[in-house]
């Protein structure tokens, strides 16, 4: 009997180790490929220059247009989705009664939106823009990516909020806080959860090509206004990979490294600011 239990223990431990190693090796394989193929082509020119004439055929230039475009779009859509999802989550968790039907309907709708493929958001955003008379532009891209990441942010922030113990709201209310004052403190407590939600959304939003394909357009320049088209890194990678020239294909991998580094920078800075913020006073 003891022996069987020990075997069982070993077996499942081995399974866990295998899956961990499997996942890690896929990740390493992907990053390895990107770095192996892209690193030789990753020059300062790639980061600091706009694509020149004939860039996609192997001539000089960089992907600064796409870097700036992607950062603009993700920051813009983050602002929109944060300002929509945080109040919504606070409302359904602290203003609606527990087990409220309305709250569950909202959660269920966002679960569905969570599963909608990004090309559908792209098509919907495009249809909306045609209806409103907006051309493919930075604004169109921001709005569509905001639609894509809103369900991710809302649902992941909602999950951490639901896990919050009732003790904290009760403590605050019994001190005579209004609900608004209570929520200000609760958000501080939930800051790490909010940052995680934002990071998940950034990861999804910045790497998505289908949403911005029709809505943000593509350009070799840096947009200087919301109504101008904007390039994005995923699309830039797509166009470079489509080139028959090998050097340009390698630049696509270099662009992928840049995209990864941007995500890393955003992650680290978000973690840094969240820990700094949660230590400070009001």
């Amino acid at each position: 009997m003891v022996n069987i239990k020990r075997q069982e223990e070993r077996f499942f431990k081995a399974l866990m180790i295998i899956s961990a190693v499997f996942i890690m090796s896929i990740l390493l394989y992907i990053t390895g490929t990107i770095i192996y193929k892209g690193l030789p082509s990753l020059t300062w020119d790639m980061i600091l220059k706009l694509p020149g004439g004939g860039f996609y055929l192997g001539k000089e230039g960089g992907v600064l247009n796409a870097i700036v475009g992607s950062v603009y779009i993700i920051l813009g859509s983050l602002i929109i989705s944060t300002f929509l999802s945080v109040p919504l989550v606070m409302y359904i968790n602290f203003y609606l009664p527990k087990n409220s039907v309305f709250a569950n309907v909202i959660r269920f709708s966002f679960d569905i939106l969570f599963g909608v493929p990004s090309i559908v958001y792209g098509a919907f955003g495009f249809a909306l823009m045609v209806y409103l008379g907006i051309r493919a532009s930075l604004l169109g891209g921001i709005l569509t990516v905001a639609m894509l990441i809103l369900p991710i942010m809302m649902r992941s922030f909602d999950e951490v909020t639901r896990l919050l113990s009732r003790d904290l709201p009760d403590a605050l209310l019994s001190l005579g806080s209004t609900k608004y004052e209570m929520i200000k403190v609760i958000i501080r407590q939930l800051m790490p959860g909010l940052v995680t939600a934002i990071l998940l959304a950034v990861g999804r939003g910045i790497g998505d090509a289908a949403t911005v394909l029709f809505t943000a357009g593509y350009t070799d320049n840096i947009p200087s206004a919301l109504n101008q088209p904007a390039a994005t890194l995923p699309l830039s990678i797509f166009f470079q990979l489509g080139s028959p020239v090998e050097e340009v294909q390698n630049r696509a991998y270099a662009s992928a490294i840049i995209l990864t580094i941007i995500i890393l920078i955003l992650s680290f800075s978000a973690r840094y600011f969240s820990s700094k913020y949660s230590k400070d006073k009001i």
Partner: protein, 273 residues
Amino acid sequence: MAESPGNSYQDSYVVSPLKKIASNQSINVENLDVFIGDQHILKDINLDIPEKSITCIIGPSGCGKSTFLKTLNRMHDETPEVKIKGKVYVDDENIYSSKVNVIDIRKKMGLLAQRPCPLPMSIFDNVAYGPRIHGLTKRKAINQTVIQYLQYVGLWDEVRGRVRTPATRLSIGQQQRLCLARGLAIEPEYILGDEATSALDPISTKKIEELFLKLKEKYTIILVTHTLRQAKRIADYIVFMYMGEIIENGQTDEFFNHPKNQLTKDYLTGSFS
């Protein structure tokens, strides 16, 4: 972390007597019925709670002690399935009348919960939170208030060098005293304790109990407890509840030495708990 503002306060700061000395404290409960959903939790409660004393509510789990305590600071407002009938007079004002502002009621009632729940901020800001949301803005006044209440609960000497560090780093017993200081800082007239020592070690429990004995000179204290010995040690009056009803209440000596009701006798001898 680098700054230690604890040292910048005057070391010789003298505790001024607590400001609040209420004149006509009283709680009278008349024909109170509480329903949660279709369950009848509290049944026709009639009770007068004497001022400036400790009243302990005892009874087996699920008898409605905590529900009763929550009716006193209207915390049931947050759960819509709770229905309340009857009147609760606090200082001769029915707190369930529509004219009453719930914030004012909660300001009158300092609550000490079962588990200490420090706010996600520094020790200093935890105590300063209440006074700040209720309109205290002057830095000096806030400093004084915080020091005064931290001293009052005996925490000041333990934390003076690190009042700007997160409150969650304190031990559980210290956290509970911090929560008491935080509750006192809103200058309530009543103190409600919901099994306030059940999560604490014996030494911390003793400290909290001593504080209650000190506090009853100025405050009316109502404690829910499930330890009879604690009730015996600190209570002036005992209320024994069973299945949502008050079975017996009276002065502590009288209650423990000459219980009148058979249920009370059974409970005190440990026939059920």
